[in-house]
């Protein structure tokens, strides 16, 4: 697994090198493709000295490269972490994280996990809990859905069309419609838009109005 550090001055910090003796450093995200030929690896993004806007752009580019991206912040904070993860990063830590921790993080993200400071994780959950009060009004009725209906509903909740759902579940578009009709009735929504919103615990026009 390659460890590729993107850092403004093109210099690896000692601790990075200690964690990954074979780590590579590049100056910009655009240099990444030519800096490595490895099929898999981890991209580490040093956001010190970077304006938030630039950091966001870099992160976007980095994520599109396909490797898991870990953002290393000079001063980790909630908002920043939040944006980083939303943008597709799967790790968020301190630039001066200890070598052992860097290795842990690498291990985690290389295997599809997400790594962030424990406090941050709890903070995230706390935040979410405020908008997602456990058993939402939709929840109880969600149990009324059959397993197949639930699958369809979840697809709609992601914005999929009937055709896409049909392909995903390997059934006919007609069947998707059948499930949908049933779902609409059970959840008391009138169309897919309201369903999509309801599935995401967002009040809809008729509900509110």
């Amino acid at each position: 697994m390659e460890q590729l550090f993107v850092t403004a001055n093109g210099q690896l910090l000692e601790r990075w090198n200690k964690a990954f003796p074979k780590a590579i450093a590049v100056v910009a995200v655009s240099d990444v493709p030519e800096a490595t030929a490895a099929p898999r690896g981890v991209l580490w993004l040093d956001t010190r000295n970077l304006e938030p806007v630039d950091a966001a752009r870099d992160l976007q580019d980095a994520v599109s490269f396909g490797w898991p991206v870990v953002v290393m912040a000079a001063v980790p904070n909630e908002t920043d972490a939040f944006q980083a993860l939303t943008a597709g990063a799967v790790g968020y830590c301190h630039v001066k994280a200890a070598p052992e921790q860097l290795r842990e993080i690498a291990l985690v993200v290389e295997h599809g996990g997400v790594w962030m400071l424990p406090e941050l994780l709890q903070r995230f959950l706390a935040l979410s809990s405020r908008v997602a009060p456990a058993p939402a009004p939709v929840e109880p009725e969600l149990n009324a859905l059959t397993s197949r209906e639930l699958m369809v509903a979840e697809q709609v909740a992601k914005g999929a069309t009937n055709r896409e759902i049909a392909e995903t579940l390997d059934i006919t578009e007609r069947t998707v419609k059948a499930h949908l009709s049933s779902i609409f009735e059970k959840l008391a929504v009138r169309d897919r838009v309201q369903l999509a919103l309801a599935m995401n615990n967002i009040p809809t026009y008729t509900t509110v109005n």
Copy 2:
């Protein structure tokens, strides 16, 4: 690292055994302490056939044991995942996850990471974004909308139909459509469902894939 599965019938699924030949199974969380003497390990909680209430209690007990806890759900869903992680679980996956994936998950949580389905992670972030002071990814593009377009978009975000929007804004349905076409292009969404989701900072099918 010990892999301890808590499952109602006390039987290890084949795939679990395949992933961890030395895995242990117990029937209840209360049996965990006497089932192992290992200093560290991972607790896997099978929540099939468990009432939500019982699952919650079990999870709490499991977490208090001190080992990282991974919840395995029969039908993974946002709310359930949310509750599990809030309660202290650091992993959330499908009961029938493939052996390779189970090993990945174990690796992740053993090293302080959090593991959940990628879609779920995005959902979480979307949820938090509604209360977090963070400028959401959609925001900047929202500025591209004209005042009238914004009004239409907001209505769609609440689940309104074209007719309703037309009445509310006192314009023709045709005009609503005109605004919508423009909105779709500016925000790079393909239909009202994706628009409604985007307006609520929820990643959509094509975005997440």
